[in-house]
């Protein structure tokens, strides 16, 4: 009887203890970036005796869920993971809680710049993503080609390799929306164009912007047919299968390029900075940030978690789980440098990377711009007409938002 009572008491105490446990709800991206954070969250939960609930959502749904939560102040999430172009929209109307203390100087400047709104920090950078230029080093050596530092040289090399190897010299993605815009931005910047002029008006009808799109169509001629409908997975599939020689890509694919189980050409891809044209090459930034919604019921614990998760030891763990870090010290750690051969290129790209325009309307602008780019790449309209169309639609979006 006494034994039974003891067991019942122990069970009761266990229940009451677990019932009083705080629950931290975290919204993460379903993918490698989110997996690392998920693992870190469970570790932190053990350390702080806090229950962790991870809401894992695909990229397309993550923004809508977070945006709805922040707008309606439901407090459904204590920590949100966000792609950096979403920051202006999500930080608007006091949706996020300001950081209680500024981030330290070890974070890379480009990744910190996208965490700030009107001088106040609202997020911490977790994944240091920026584009890299992937190319087949073995084929460049075979055809005695110099490393792809200039876009003009990239096109020449693509023609040479394409003809010599019976493969595609280049591969890019031009599906409407994010895909087309992401692959076009480094070209636009290198050719001296931009989406907005210094006064904030759309400037896509500039000669530089049109020239950049014409060049993109030239690259399209040495790319696989149907690239106007490609997304990231098709581009990487061509590289992994050895059917294309060069592309712009993201660090998340580096590990696969060296993995013999996934790649037919393991170790043959080299990673370089964005090629130049009229101006030096610049990569697009695509960092993942961590922030605490204003309506979070557990703000103190949420901040404790995001500072812990972005500290150097945890970013080292995250790097081992496949996430590029946002701290210089982690990029320069000798153990990691030995393990990740692309780290020096990644650090250099990240230091000079440029974010997408910081506007609340970015998703709508990117969609309108991406549709026009995809139409030009599919041959539906001319480069001039595409840029005119994008310019008009972006101007209308800005007008409506006033």
């Amino acid at each position: 009887m006494r034994v039974l009572l003891s067991v019942a008491l122990a069970l009761l105490m266990g229940c009451s203890r677990s019932g009083s446990k705080k629950t931290l709800t975290i919204a993460v991206n379903a993918g490698v970036e989110g997996s690392a954070l998920k693992a870190a969250a469970h570790e932190w939960g053990e350390l702080r005796d806090t229950r962790i609930e991870v809401v894992e959502l695909p990229y397309a749904n993550l923004f809508e869920k977070e945006s709805l939560d922040l707008e309606s102040r439901t407090g459904a999430y204590d920590v949100i993971m966000m792609d950096d172009p979403w920051f202006p929209k999500l930080a608007a109307d006091s949706g996020l809680t300001p950081l209680p203390r500024p981030p330290d100087a070890d974070f890379l400047g480009s990744t910190l710049a996208v965490c700030r709104d009107a001088g106040t920090f609202y997020a911490l950078p977790y994944v240091g993503n920026s584009q890299l230029f992937f190319y087949r080093k073995d084929l460049f050596e075979k055809y005695k080609l110099s490393a792809p530092g200039q876009w003009k040289k990239v096109l020449e090399a693509a023609r040479t390799i394409g003809a010599g190897e019976k493969m595609y010299g280049y591969v890019m993605r031009a599906a409407p929306g994010n895909s087309a815009v992401t692959d076009f931005m480094p070209l636009l910047w290198a050719f001296g164009g931009d989406i907005f002029d210094p006064q904030g008006k759309p400037s896509l009808t500039s000669p530089e912007a049109i020239e950049a799109l014409r060049f993109m169509l030239e690259l399209g001629k040495v790319s696989p047919p149907g690239y106007a409908g490609f997304n990231a997975d098709e581009v990487s599939a061509h590289l992994l299968q050895g059917t294309a020689a060069m592309s712009i890509n993201w660090p998340a694919w580096i590990a696969a390029m060296d993995d013999p189980l996934k790649s037919k050409i393991p170790g043959k891809i080299e990673f370089a900075q964005m090629p130049s044209a009229r101006l030096p090459g610049v990569a697009e930034l695509g960092s993942w940030l961590l922030a605490v919604p204003a309506a979070s019921p557990h703000r103190d614990a949420a901040f404790d978690f995001i500072y812990w998760a972005t500290d150097a030891p945890q970013l080292t763990e995250a790097a081992l789980r496949g996430n590029p870090p946002t701290r210089r010290s982690v990029f320069l750690a000798p153990d990691l440098l030995k393990k990740f051969r692309a780290f020096p290129a990644q650090l250099a790209a990240l230091e000079g990377a440029r974010p997408r325009p910081r506007t609340k309307q970015w998703n709508e602008i990117e969609n309108a711009f991406g549709v026009a780019l995809s139409q030009a790449n599919s041959g539906a309209i001319s480069p001039e007409a595409a840029m005119q169309q994008a310019n008009n639609e972006i101007a209308a979006i800005l007008e409506r938002s006033k």
């Binding site: 749904n61 923004f63 809508e64 945006s67 707008e71 929209k89 031009a174 599906a175 409407p176 929306g177 696989p224 047919p225 149907g226 690239y227 106007a228 409908g229 490609f230 997304n231 098709e234 599939a237 061509h238 299968q241 059917t243 309307q361 998703n363 709508e364 969609n367 549709v371 026009a372 995809s374 139409q375 030009a376 790449n377 599919s378 041959g379 539906a380 309209i381």
Partner: protein, 280 residues
């Protein structure tokens, strides 16, 4: 004197509450959102509809998609139903195997077809190459001219079995007497089909067309997975555009206006078909 509550009202009350909560309130809320913005009452969202090039393109393409898919699904569904109905043996087995595509969730079907359509690594072009065809220009969902046809074919593949199922049920419900009378009168197969089978099958045909057309006009998942509306805006549909406007651009007022117009069009189309069913 107390008024007695009619007993029928008590029985339908739970259903009415559920209907009000799940259909009527959301509909009224949708209308409210569509005619308001941060400053109050506005008809600007409806005015924008007629100036929005992409909405017009999406509306035209949705109609094209629905009509083409409906015509093909009806044609193949009827042909298969007649063929299976004429089989002497193994009808049940053929019927079950024909239903397989319909049992897949649309998202799964779209992912399968995305892999099949891949120009370089897909099984379709691979097979064509084996047969000696040049597949360089066969880019399927990525081609400006072939994207719409490709997504329509996926719908036809998945939903023809639904047409087949309904029409088979309709064929089996036709009494044998008129068919025997036609045979005795010397009518051949085609004459019997035109003058006896199809008129008797008309209510089932209209019901099948009604159900499919309502589904087709709100097509979303397959196109979202296969093309995301591209290349360019070649496969953009109204549902896709509404989704983007609401959840990517956070413009709920304009999305609500588009949804309301879409609802009105679908309701009008359904009403006309239902009237035809009644008169038949």
């Amino acid at each position: 004197m107390t008024r007695r509550v009619p007993p029928g009202l008590i029985w339908v009350a739970p259903a009415m509450v559920v209907l009000a909560a799940l259909s009527i309130y959301p509909l009224l809320y949708l209308v409210k959102v569509s005619i308001s913005d941060a400053r109050g009452f506005t008809l600007a969202h409806y005015a924008r509809l007629f100036q929005d090039r992409l909405f017009m393109v999406a509306a035209g393409q949705t109609l094209l998609y629905a009509l083409a898919a409906l015509a093909l699904e009806f044609f193949f569904g009827l042909a298969l139903a007649l063929l299976v109905d004429s089989l002497a043996h193994g009808r049940a087995l053929v019927r079950v195997s024909l239903l397989a595509p319909m049992l897949l969730p649309p998202v799964v079907a779209a992912v399968i077809w995305r892999l099949i359509y891949n120009p370089e690594f897909g099984v379709l072009n691979g097979m064509l190459r084996q047969l000696g065809f040049h597949t360089q220009s066969l880019t399927w969902t990525s081609g400006r001219n072939s994207a719409m046809l490709s997504v329509i074919l996926v719908d036809v593949w998945q939903w023809t079995p639904f047409m087949f199922l309904l029409l088979t049920a309709g064929l089996q419900a036709i009494p044998s007497e008129p068919l025997e009378a036609a045979r005795v009168d010397g009518a051949g197969y085609w004459r019997t089909l035109r003058d006896v089978v199809l008129p008797l099958l008309k209510p089932t045909i209209l019901l099948a067309l009604l159900l499919r057309s309502m589904d087709l006009l709100r097509i979303f998942d397959q196109i979202f997975i296969l093309t995301q509306g591209g290349p360019g805006s070649a496969t953009e549909t109204v549902s896709l555009y509404i989704y983007r406007t609401a959840f990517r651009f956070s413009n709920f007022g304009y999305a609500a206006a588009m949804s309301f117009v879409g609802l009105v069009i679908t309701t009008l189309a359904a009403r006309s078909l239902m009237r035809l069913i009644k008169t038949s």
